[in-house]
């Protein structure tokens, strides 16, 4: 009997419950996101862009970090959301919350349709298919310039005040609050998903895609579900960008955006909920600081950084921190 109680103490339910508990570092992180209002009120526009990109990186983390699906075309869903929200506004409906909802639904629908393809492939074929989806959608948007404005981007977006009360100001106060609230709510959803039995089986699929079906996990159905969820989140992030900047360009669908978000996620650390947001903060603050630099040279440093991260810090900033922490406190149990 005693062995059963010991087992129960370390059983799956207890494990998940322990994972689900809020740590003080997490609470500190979310409190710190309020700091820009006080410390750097001139940079709230940048802060709102960081929050949006952080949300986008978080959505990529769900499929790449937690489920092991490498995507070089995740911007397809981001751009889909951005164009949905932008077009709604151009056509005369600039209400932001329903715009977000519509963008999430469209991107999610597209994600659901494509997930049937995604779930069937792995390795190089998967990389090529995600790349192909991204390129195809961008070419399609470029060709359909009578709707999307093509190369010039979508003109004439006007976002109405949120809840008819909070108008978007020049300083980005509303934009940042709006983006932050959406990021936080989406983060809660992602956190709940990851610390659920479903989230655990996703990690199982990442670790060994052949063994999971053997223990009865519906691998392909799981991949389809998480891919759709990630697409919805990416669509919401895209809609946020369209609504707060009131422009949408072809660049939102482009390979460059897919590659950038991948870099941020790797920088922050994959397979950790905070990897995406932290990578986005570091990457975008650095890019803002070096904005005088020619973009060509900016990519020189990004390239070097990528090589360095892959060679010396394979788990990103958060992984490096965790390792340092573990070395400093050798007797603490591994978390």
């Amino acid at each position: 009997m005693s062995s059963a109680t010991i087992d129960a103490a370390f059983g799956p339910r207890q494990f998940l419950r322990a994972q689900n508990r809020w740590r003080w570092t997490e609470i500190a992180f979310w409190l710190a996101t309020l700091l820009p209002f006080v410390l750097t009120p001139d940079y709230l526009v940048l802060a709102s862009q960081i929050a949006i990109t952080g949300l986008f990186a978080l959505s990529l983390d769900l499929i790449l970090g937690f489920s092991g699906i490498i995507s070089l075309g995740h911007a397809a869903y981001f751009g889909m959301g951005a164009y949905t929200a932008g077009l709604l506004s151009v056509w005369g409906w600039g209400e932001p919350l329903t715009g977000l909802l519509a963008a999430g639904v469209t991107a999610g629908l597209f994600g659901y349709l494509t997930s049937f393809i995604i779930a069937r492939f792995r390795h190089l074929a998967l990389i090529m298919i995600t790349l192909g989806i991204g390129l195809l959608l961008q070419e399609a948007a470029n060709s359909a310039s009578f709707i999307t404005g093509g190369f010039d981007g979508l003109q004439g977006i006007h976002t109405w005040p949120i809840l008819n009360r909070f108008d978007f100001d020049l300083y980005g106060r509303t934009a940042y609050s709006y983006a932050l609230v959406v990021l936080f709510l989406t983060f809660l959803v992602a956190r709940r998903i990851i610390h659920s039995p479903f989230g655990l089986s996703l990690r199982g699929i990442r670790e060994n895609g052949q063994r999971m079906p053997a223990i009865g996990a519906a691998t392909r159905a799981h991949i389809r579900t998480i891919y759709t969820i990630a697409a919805v989140m990416a669509g919401i992030a895209g809609a946020l960008l369209a609504q707060t900047t009131e422009t949408v360009s072809l660049e939102t669908l482009g390979f460059q955006r897919s590659a950038d978000v991948l870099v941020m996620l790797i920088l922050g650390g994959t397979g950790r909920l905070y990897g995406g947001p932290i990578g986005a903060i570091v990457y975008m603050v650095a890019r803002d600081q070096f904005s005088g630099l020619n973009p060509q040279y900016w990519y020189f440093w990004i390239g070097l950084l990528l090589i360095a991260v892959v060679m010396f810090m394979p788990d990103g900033i958060l992984g490096g921190l965790a390792l340092a922490l573990r070395r400093l406190t050798p007797r603490r149990a591994k978390d």
Binding site: L64, I70, L72, I117, R120, F121, H123, L124, A125, I127, M128, I129, L131, G132, I133, L135, L136, E139, A140, N142, S143, F255, A259, L262, V263, I266, T270, N294, Q296, Y297, Y299, F300, I302, G303, L304, L305, L306, I307, V309, V310, M311, P314
Partner: protein, 286 residues
């Protein structure tokens, strides 16, 4: 010249370039499963080496071609020794990230040294103009391109099919562990194939300037085409790469010619359909 023939001719010449630039990647990917997204950086290096030798040192065009080959091969050996070697057993994600980092660095390096403009190229007079044959006129440079690529294809296929080295390469592509077990030094074999493949990419890059132009974004723009050729043709298959490159070259030209409004949609669609139909590519064995 009837437009269909012109389009076919241009498409084939374009396909030959794509073949030269991608065959090396196909073989090395098939052998080591190493996803080298920096392959087109070697092509770009070959292009810049040729341009520099011609414009700054006044070398004749033909003489720059072997140097472009050697430069790309040498650079690839260095990169393989320093970086790639450590990542053969890593996941695809790490390989992708490492090599895309190298692509970014190479693009920025090229922009720093040469600026972002298109590089001028001066073909010798005997490669300019066109000849008329059976009522059709052919651009001499494209004929020259097709000729070179065909010679290289024949040499490559003969090497892979009929020599001891080729047999070892085929063995390593088919089953790397078994090949090791039989005493084949796969690492050495891979280093040689890698250098040869990158050299061919460098040669392709040098030949491509007169047809596709050369600026720092070359390494990323044509990477996508090269990846399409490799994944459609099937990993490790020389013949597969050849067929896929021809298909891509001709369908790209046809798309631009007949349905310009759709841009590159056609080739991306063809690629996705082929990969969905046969994930290992047309000629892939796995």
């Amino acid at each position: 010249m009837p437009p269909v023939f012109g389009m076919l001719f241009d498409g084939i010449a374009y396909g030959m370039l794509l073949f030269l630039m991608s065959v090396g990647l196909s073989v090395t990917l098939g052998m080591m499963n190493f996803v080298n997204l920096a392959h087109c950086s070697f092509a770009m290096l070959g292009g810049y080496v040729a341009v520099t030798l011609m414009n700054a040192f006044g070398w004749p065009f033909l003489l720059t071609l072997p140097i472009a080959f050697l430069a790309a091969a040498a650079a690839s050996v260095v990169l393989e020794r320093v970086f790639f070697r450590r990542f053969y057993n890593a996941g695809e994600l790490e390989q992708c990230l490492l090599t895309i980092g190298i692509v970014f660095v190479s693009i920025a390096g090229a922009a720093y040294i040469y600026g972002t403009d298109q590089q001028p190229v001066h073909l010798p007079p005997y490669l300019q103009g066109s000849i008329v044959f059976a009522g059709l006129d052919f651009a001499i440079y494209r004929l020259f391109l097709i000729g070179i690529a065909l010679v290289i294809t024949v040499v490559l296929i003969a090497t892979v099919e009929a020599t001891r080295f080729g047999a070892q390469v085929r063995a390593a592509v088919n089953n790397q562990r078994m090949a090791r077990g039989l005493g084949i030094d796969v690492d050495r074999l891979f280093a040689i194939t890698f250098a040869l493949g990158s050299g061919l990419a460098g040669l392709g890059g040098a030949l491509a300037i007169a047809m596709l132009g050369l600026d720092p974004s070359f390494a990323l723009t044509y990477l996508i085409y090269v990846l399409i050729v490799v994944s459609v043709g099937g990993l490790g298959s020389v013949a597969g790469s050849f067929v896929a490159a021809m298909l891509l070259g001709v369908s790209d030209e046809a798309g631009k010619y007949y349905i310009p409004a759709f841009g590159s949609v056609l080739i991306y669609l063809v690629m996705m359909v082929v990969i969905m139909w046969r994930p290992a590519g047309l000629f892939g064995r796995r």
